[in-house]
Symmetry: C2
Subunit: 460 residues, 2 copies
Amino acid sequence: MSSKKTVPYRINLPEELIPKQWYNIRADMKELPDPMLNPGTMKPITSPDELAPIFCYELAKQELDNETRYIDIPEEILNFYKMCRPSPLIRAYCLEKKLGTPAKIYYKFEGNNTSGSHKLNSAIAQAYYAKAQGITHLTTETGAGQWGTALSMACAYLGIDLTVYMVKGSYMQKPFRKSVINTFGANIIPSPSDTTNAGRAILAEMPDTTGSLGCAISEAVEKAVTSENCRYVLGSVLNQVLLHQSIIGLESKAAMEMYDEYPDIIIGCAGGGSNLGGLIAPFMKDKLDGVKNPYFIAVEPASCPSLTRGKYAYDFCDTGKVTPLAKMYTLGCGFIPAANHAGGLRYHGMSPVISKLYHDGYIDEARSYVQTDVFEAAVEFSRAEGILPAPESSHAIRAAIDEALKCKETGEEKTILFGLTGTGYFDMTAYESFHNKTMIDYVPTDAELEEAFSKLPEIK
Amino acid sequence: MSSKKTVPYRINLPEELIPKQWYNIRADMKELPDPMLNPGTMKPITSPDELAPIFCYELAKQELDNETRYIDIPEEILNFYKMCRPSPLIRAYCLEKKLGTPAKIYYKFEGNNTSGSHKLNSAIAQAYYAKAQGITHLTTETGAGQWGTALSMACAYLGIDLTVYMVKGSYMQKPFRKSVINTFGANIIPSPSDTTNAGRAILAEMPDTTGSLGCAISEAVEKAVTSENCRYVLGSVLNQVLLHQSIIGLESKAAMEMYDEYPDIIIGCAGGGSNLGGLIAPFMKDKLDGVKNPYFIAVEPASCPSLTRGKYAYDFCDTGKVTPLAKMYTLGCGFIPAANHAGGLRYHGMSPVISKLYHDGYIDEARSYVQTDVFEAAVEFSRAEGILPAPESSHAIRAAIDEALKCKETGEEKTILFGLTGTGYFDMTAYESFHNKTMIDYVPTDAELEEAFSKLPEIK
């Protein structure tokens, strides 16, 4: 007879167990990601001062800090976390039953806040450090709108002005995102726009483009460096963001430990990589330390397959080529993915940390799915678990269901953990097109990718 | 020095403390509400058999049961509750700080589920009893869309067909509610519609009407009694619904007791009365028992002021006059309130239990607010607490803020508890009109109300 405690449907860590430090995976990596390059000199960036025109100083330091394993979370951020955290770790009893699988499925649900996603974890941190430095205005980009909403909440809380460039395709699909962001007092502009040189250049070349994250980043960065007392903040990709998002994994691990559980498989959707990086961080530490060996799966859309079909190379983080370069899996910064309903996963590149871990074999697998397969999983999940997932998160659901069905075939009682990054309340246009069967499964051709790769910068 | 434990931002009861019984306030009332009348005979309904064509038998029994104080929650319902409950009781530290009030503000947040409100508590119960009786199809009405969504989730979970009549005004304001309800596999029809005699009659008289809850109820009831193996379910007003919603108050009380807290003031928004009735139930017991004396405030929109300006009289529960009659505060079943953004509070009547408690002075106060005052509170709350509230819930927020500001004046450290019934993610049209200053504050004239009262049925 097992002495294990019965696992409740929802594990809510007590407030006092909210982690008080973030975990920096770089401190434990066997090999570090290659350094960022200064776009002017094409030389490695070694000092926070080089990043200071774009980022506030403390965040620039975090970006380059490859050594400090645990970084204290300032008290004001901790207090904000207490408003919306700990997020529940949910045992998917109902989904397991519906699938008839012997697998145990857990998901860390980050969607129970008004931003509707995990983005709030880094938004409050970035806004806090900016305010501490006396910055009064921030700019950013947003794809699906979750990051923009999260940042508007953080800025409203701290009293900072905010301008959000939202990828035009998403902006059109999700008109109500604008109202939410306005409710929190921020300004929102569809990108590409005529408010920046980068936006005007892209519009001149492609007047009908629905935009991309890379393009919105160019505009937000330009706006930040040309405005007074203003900095740019980014919701994913960066090392600092992965650091802040480590709270997802730390809480997940603590919650599982309370019930003597440990995941055999860990699954996250991957756009820029912040959720995946945050979710896996403490479990990856176990793997790097040789203590445990969980199997990591990164899931991306077939329409924007940076890990599964991209090149591991130096590239710009934005379309306008104003940002530093990073060594990462990329489809080429000129690649603008076809419009799809997972705006948060429409990014040409991938976090350098995630890229390195994947390249070196620590992330075991990357896989991609087409949209209709993803939405089929989303609907099945919603009817069983009563949560309407975001399209982005539903990529992880698809993979989790597939893994659970494999267990059904083999009879293995694996423990699966996936990240349910957010809710789909603002994605109903997407669900509607799935119900109407008008959803298109776009997959770029090899020729399209080769064309994009041919424009990758040459680095000596 | 106080020996009290520090109250966390969010009190999450452990799963094992989710109540296993609902509390039936009628068992403790000094005087019972007057009985429902059969619309055919105008005689009191005394047997569940009389309600059986409309409601399934177990729910009809609960409707008439004035004696059983505690009713066991069936295990399948408890399991569903565990997916989304306990809901957090939140200490509004950030709002208190922003207001500079010595008051302690708590709110029971029922919006952290995909239906976005407390409605799920009764939806799963009603769907469960219907299924247990072999019913395969349910019909209902929905105003703001929260009840319709909740019931579609419950029906998807249990595998029951569902047709939802949604008040046309809300249907137009909130196009995405349809997609959510479709995602859970239910059918949704804007009301009044040409699918029923009741709907056709109303359309003939008022072709441009935006509908009302009373009218949608008529259609849903007609559809139920004319379809095979079908029953009608209602999201508010009824005794059975207040019974199921008592879980809100029971959890709130248990959570406060963990920290030796007890509310001086309890505030709930009131449309049909289900949230208010559920929230106050166990605290009202204390008042009825003479153990405690909390001050209860019911808050309603000035555009639909049943408690503050209605008559306490027998009336039909629907516009089409097909339902039983109830003794309640009512504006007259022919009263169709002006379109406003709190669709869930646009009901001509009020729960007979709430009506009786208010009439007899146990609910201490009813007050009404105009829309812009409500949305001002909603925006202030969202920026402080990071939760975007539903327009309905924001009525309670308005009153809570006003009470907290009174405490600021007097210096009293009162403990305020209010019900935050839901989120406003599907109400962004409303927020948009507030931001644009196009929101209209409609208040019916005395003449309009007199006209509506003149059509109240005469009961001998």
